[in-house]
Symmetry: C2
DNA sequence: CGCAACTAATTCACGAGTAAAACACCTGCT
DNA sequence: AGCAGGTGTTTTACTCGTGAATTAGTTGCG
């Protein structure tokens, strides 16, 4: 798996905001994606802009959330990809090889190598060579690494909770379910969907 | 951008080591985020992992969609940020200055400058200086630029439609609505939410 | 054994994005 | 007029991620 992230911040998503004349200043309170979709429909009234309303919003949400989430991590001096790597080690509960880490974190081998180098220098992870196969390495959290993850995660979740607080609880449940359904489809399908 | 990442194929077991191969071939079919959340809950049963189910899925969906969407654009030799820029010019229907483009596309000024340079060299956009204020530039699509956008957009939407096809129509509507509500909150709130 | 084919991990060269500095120009105040 | 301070855009220096090559090691097979 490669790419994605990207866009760490990647990259980001669809597009936003309206320009001059927003016709309805009152209305049901549009988000920026709705404004963009409105503009497109004015220009191409014949197109079905339905997919934009989902994909555009997912991208935009991801971009905004990403930025927001950075905060608690940054205080710990970690980037999100770094935290993902540490988190993978923590949640699986055992050592992982670099190639397993590329699968767990969906990033390229080169990226994992670099991150491991940094995290090792910072004393958050350790490596040990495999005794049988000297090509493979095994990576594990150091005590400080584990403590760091365990300290950050609750903050992270608490922060995310407040970020999502604008949506009521049933709404959150529905959203999680729908996204889960979509995700199952995407994960199962996209590999096969050869353009 | 990828918040919580998932495992390719792995029961959500908390147990270290071991890989029970997907035990229930039927079942509600877990997505990778569900697996990751399951792992976390096994390690920290006390934490409320609710936010992960939303934020993790949004990030993962964004990553997968991004990659998927690349396809139609790549055929036209455009990256998504480039298309976003062209799209902003097309949908607003008039010239935009570079700073307006940074707002429309949510990217930095430096990035816009670079993209404009490339797109100008490719003959997709033109610039003209403002007559009153010689600091500002006005950017517009060339005829080829507009034709390109108009040619790509329908393909793009058609492709996105098939990508989303796994979700039934009412589900798509609900999803769009919920994401819209979330987005309104995020856009209104995040600027103010000083960590 | 010895060599081809494969796999794990790393290195390399490069492209793209960013923040901050630089630059160019405008505006308001005295 | 003249200049302090503000704004629009570009440049600079850097980081980070990627794909492709590279290194190192293993395995299968004649």
């Amino acid at each position: 798996m490669t790419s994605m992230n990207g866009r760490p911040a990647d990259g980001n998503g669809a597009s936003p905001d309206v320009a001059r004349d927003d016709p309805s200043p009152s209305a049901p309170r549009h988000d920026t994606v709705a404004a963009v979709v409105g503009q497109w429909q004015a220009v191409h009234p014949d197109l079905d802009t339905g997919p934009m309303e989902i994909i555009g919003r997912i991208n935009r949400c991801a971009a905004l959330l990403q930025q927001a989430e950075d905060a608690p991590l940054r205080r710990a001096g970690l980037s999100r990809p770094e935290f993902d790597l540490l988190g993978a080690l923590r949640r699986t509960g055992h050592e992982l090889t670099p190639s397993e880490l590329t699968r767990e974190t969906f990033s390229s081998g080169a990226a994992v190598t670099k991150r491991l180098k940094q995290l090792t220098e910072r004393g958050l992870v350790e490596r040990r060579g495999d005794t049988r196969d000297r090509r493979v390495a095994h990576v594990r959290l150091t005590d400080t690494g584990r403590e760091l993850v365990d300290a950050i995660l609750p903050e992270q979740l608490a922060y995310e909770t407040t970020v999502l607080a604008g949506l009521d609880t049933p709404g959150q449940g529905e959203l999680a379910t729908l996204l889960g359904e979509l995700l199952v489809q995407l994960e199962g399908r996209l590999g096969v969907l050869r353009v």
